[in-house]
């Protein structure tokens, strides 16, 4: 990865949300993309993508991009709901997973693979949010993390501006977004009651949480 950023503006920009919507605040990245698509119109050279927990499936999207902006839930050891932005060479380091990120073909590997192939976007920005709760299968975003979406989009707005991309209020229609049945409100409002469906977590693999 080059130490300095390229002088010219990126011709193709990928804005990606990753994480698993089924695990509470893990859905942060995907929900950011969803909200972005509902509130802004992006120009044609910007692609919005719900990456879920996909690994190598995301490789072709990375390769086609000159700049990559990623939203994700990240454990920085900060106060829950805090945003942190890292750029370029720092991104992979922040994507080194500890016990919680166990997808071995996770996003860190996707970046490493793109680098091995010499096709990693030269511009990388990661907008991460410290989660409140992950250990709630079927749960939605906690208020502190939900409240971080708007400021995260503001950061993205400025970041994209630096890349020559202007977002205008409106909507973006993208085929790459989640099915309506699992978009945030349908998903969170349709959750079965606790007495109907067990919500007990698995503290064994989440040291510090138990």
């Amino acid at each position: 990865m080059p130490a300095t950023r390229p002088a010219s503006l990126p011709a193709s920009v990928l804005v990606l949300g990753i994480g698993n919507v089924l695990w509470a605040d893990e859905g942060f990245g995907v929900r950011c993309i969803e909200t972005l698509a509902e509130t802004f119109e992006v120009p044609p050279h910007v692609r919005l993508l719900d990456g879920g927990t996909q690994g190598l499936y995301l490789l072709p999207f990375l390769e086609q991009a000159d700049a990559l902006l990623v939203f994700d839930a990240i454990d920085y050891g900060l106060a829950p709901g805090t945003l942190k932005v890292v750029r370029d060479a720092d991104v992979p380091a922040f994507m080194g997973a500890k016990k919680m990120s166990l997808h071995q073909t996770g996003f860190q590997d996707v970046i490493a693979t793109a680098q091995l192939l010499g096709r990693c976007p030269p511009l990388l920005t990661l907008i991460g949010c410290q989660p409140v709760e992950l250990e709630d299968y079927g749960g939605g975003l906690r208020p502190a993390v939900a409240a971080a979406i708007a400021p995260a989009l503001e950061v993205a707005f400025r970041e994209l501006q630096d890349w020559g991309v202007t977002l205008v209020p409106g909507r973006s229609s993208s085929a790459d977004l989640a099915d309506p049945s699992i978009r945030r409100h349908a998903y969170e409002d349709g959750r079965p009651a606790e007495e109907l469906a067990c919500r007990v977590g698995d503290d064994r693999f989440f040291p510090g949480a138990g």
Partner: protein, 596 residues
């Protein structure tokens, strides 16, 4: 020493080795073994966190949406879960899908099978056999000669090509970003390939990366997008307009031609690269025939890829269905997922509780009530377990059994069932491979056999993909453009109560979804996934699960470097997807291996 009913002698008196987590898999898994004084594994314990049953999420929701949720369970087999889900709903509501939908679903399922097998072999499993660091020492000219000997028709074989790859690899390794290749045990004597074979295989690791991107475009074409393609109860969500033009919208000839060329790419890669690599690499490990576990004893396959829509009779499935128990290959039992006596889940050694201890429950009556407690001999605390007590509850995975038997599922199980049933394509492939490698049929029951079966299956699925593509095109040309049946889309047309089951063969094995629908909503939903079968803990009678069985009596070169354990566990392509995806700055150490 304890003898298990399924034929293994367990001895937990030796040193205990804990591998946590097992890397290069989906999800979280931990494994503990005891080795004797000669470093042979004499006891094995596998445990995992699985998701806590989809009923947690799906109860009360619209059954027509279940696929979109199940697609998010896992980062790998999204489409397979979605397909299983729509099949379960269609089964419950007696919805008949049209012929084109059957062909398109088969193409998508086969495509996923091939994609998963290739990615598994090159990107998750190869590093158990191939040493990319050793590849830096290879002579590119000798590598070129090796390549031409192994696969004369593969065009990428010049010395210059291998030199370029070697340089790229060198640069990557020297940049300190070992990334993909970190956490390897590259000095371990268990690695047997000469540098040239390591370079050839590492080169194909890169070629496979490029190929896999092409393969999945089939999902974008038929599913509207990828990742997370769209599915539809009643058929497939892509209309056909064969004379249409343009990149957006219905399936037209241009798009079908694209699918056709991707199918050709898969077939060429399987023939020129994947199969020759398995034979070449396998040839160096022919004496390493550990890891058979249950594969020569008890295997299970639900079967898949129906010739005709809505017909799941065993005789109509291209991937075979059947169960073999106690190693009797002369008798293949049919499998009925509705029969309450056949598939049952036990929880005596799992962190759940049933009203009646020792009893197995059929998935339609499945209960997911957690009960987390460590046995009296466990070491450590509830949140930091040092050593599990396998005599008590020790896993979040339930123990599914077929008529009370622990079963292996997956490509090798499918191939053993197919071979025993005399499935012509499978039998020919297996016999051809054994002949080429000069190995007896018993060699199949091994870690290497599992890896080879996956490669053969990738090749067979490639041919089937072509077959269903031709079938689809012929049917369209004959004037049938129907892709969905929406007669029963409206819940008003549904019975007050209904139940159904959907079955598929996921890349890693038999997958079933059982659904109960009440008043138009999901009342209960249970998935029994392949890794639940393979990774299951002990059951009421003391039978050990497939992972556990496969590790038994394996020799370890260095007990603190679990190459052999990873090799065998990876050969199942395990997927314990439930895990989250949070990232952290302080996360270099992925696996700890403790010898106690």
């Amino acid at each position: 020493m304890t003898a298990t009913p399924n034929g293994f002698n367990l001895d937990n008196s030796g040193r205990r080795i804990v591998v946590d987590p097992v890397t290069r898999i989906e999800g979280h898994m931990r494994c503990e073994v005891n080795v004797d004084e000669n470093n042979y594994i004499r006891n094995a314990v596998s445990t995992g966190t699985m998701w806590r049953g989809l009923e947690v999420i799906l109860k009360g929701r619209d059954p027509r949406d279940a696929w979109a949720f199940t697609e998010r369970i896992c980062g790998v087999c999204t489409g397979t879960h979605a397909l299983t889900s729509v099949r379960a709903v269609e089964d419950a509501l007696a919805i008949k899908i049209p012929d084109n939908a059957n062909s398109i679903r088969n193409i998508m399922q086969l495509n996923l099978q091939i994609h998963d097998h290739i990615v598994h072999f090159y990107h998750l499993h190869a590093l158990d056999w191939v040493n990319p660091i050793n590849a830096l020492r290879a002579d590119p000219k000798a590598t070129s000669e090796l390549q031409q000997a192994v696969s004369p028709s593969h065009p990428l074989s010049s010395p210059g090509y291998f030199r370029d790859v070697q340089n790229r690899l060198k640069k990557f390794v020297e940049s300190g970003q070992l990334g993909l290749f970190k956490n390897g045990y590259w000095d371990n004597p268990a690695y047997l390939l000469p540098p040239e074979a390591d370079l050839m295989a590492t080169t194909h690791y890169l070629e496979a990366l490029d190929l896999q991107k092409e393969i999945v475009k089939v999902h974008t074409i038929f599913g509207g997008k990828n990742p997370h393609p769209n599915w539809l109860v009643g058929g497939v969500p892509c209309p056909i307009n064969i004379d249409g033009v343009g990149a957006v919208g219905a399936i037209n000839m241009e798009r079908l031609n694209m699918v056709s060329s991707i199918i050709d790419l898969c077939n060429t890669f399987n023939k020129n690269v994947y199969i020759p690599d398995v034979i070449a690499i396998g040839g160096f490990y022919k004496n390493w025939l550990y890891g058979g576990g249950l594969s020569g004893k008890s295997v299970l396959a639900y079967g898949d890829i129906p010739e005709h829509p809505n017909n799941f009779d065993a005789a109509q499935l291209h991937l075979p269905r059947g169960a073999i128990i106690n190693g009797n290959l002369n008798e293949v039992h049919d499998v009925d997922p509705r029969d309450p006596e056949q598939v049952q889940e036990f929880v005596d050694h799992s962190w759940y509780t049933y009203a009646e201890p020792g009893k197995g429950l059929h998935p339609w009556d499945g209960v997911t009530e957690p009960k987390y407690e460590l046995g009296p001999n466990a070491k450590g605390t509830r949140t930091n377990i040092l050593e599990l007590d396998e005599a008590a509850k020790y896993s979040w995975i339930k123990a599914p059994r077929w008529r009370g038997n622990a079963m292996e599922v997956g490509p090798l199980a499918r191939y053993v069932v197919g071979y025993a049933k005399g499935h012509e394509d499978i039998k020919n492939q297996v016999e051809g491979l054994l002949r080429t490698m000069n190995l007896p049929v018993t060699a199949l029951f091994s870690t290497l056999g599992r890896t080879a079966a996956r490669a053969l299956e990738s090749e067979y699925c490639g041919r089937l993909q072509k077959y269903f593509f031709d079938k689809l095109v012929t049917n369209i040309k004959n004037g049938d453009q129907s892709t969905a049946n929406v007669e029963k889309w409206d819940p008003k047309t549904w019975p007050k109560e209904a139940k159904g089951v959907g079955m598929t063969e996921a890349p890693r094995g038999a997958l079933g979804h059982w659904i109960r629908i009440k008043d138009g909503r999901i009342d209960n939903y249970q998935c029994v996934v392949p890794t639940t079968w393979n990774g299951s803990p002990r059951d009421t009678k003391g039978n050990i699960g497939a992972f556990e069985a496969s590790l038994m009596d394996t020799y370890m070169e260095r007990p603190d470097e679990p190459v052999e354990i990873l090799r065998t566990l990876h050969s199942f392509d395990p997927c314990l997807a439930c895990s989250t995806h949070v990232m952290s700055p302080d996360g270099d150490v992925l696996t700890t291996v403790k010898v106690r």
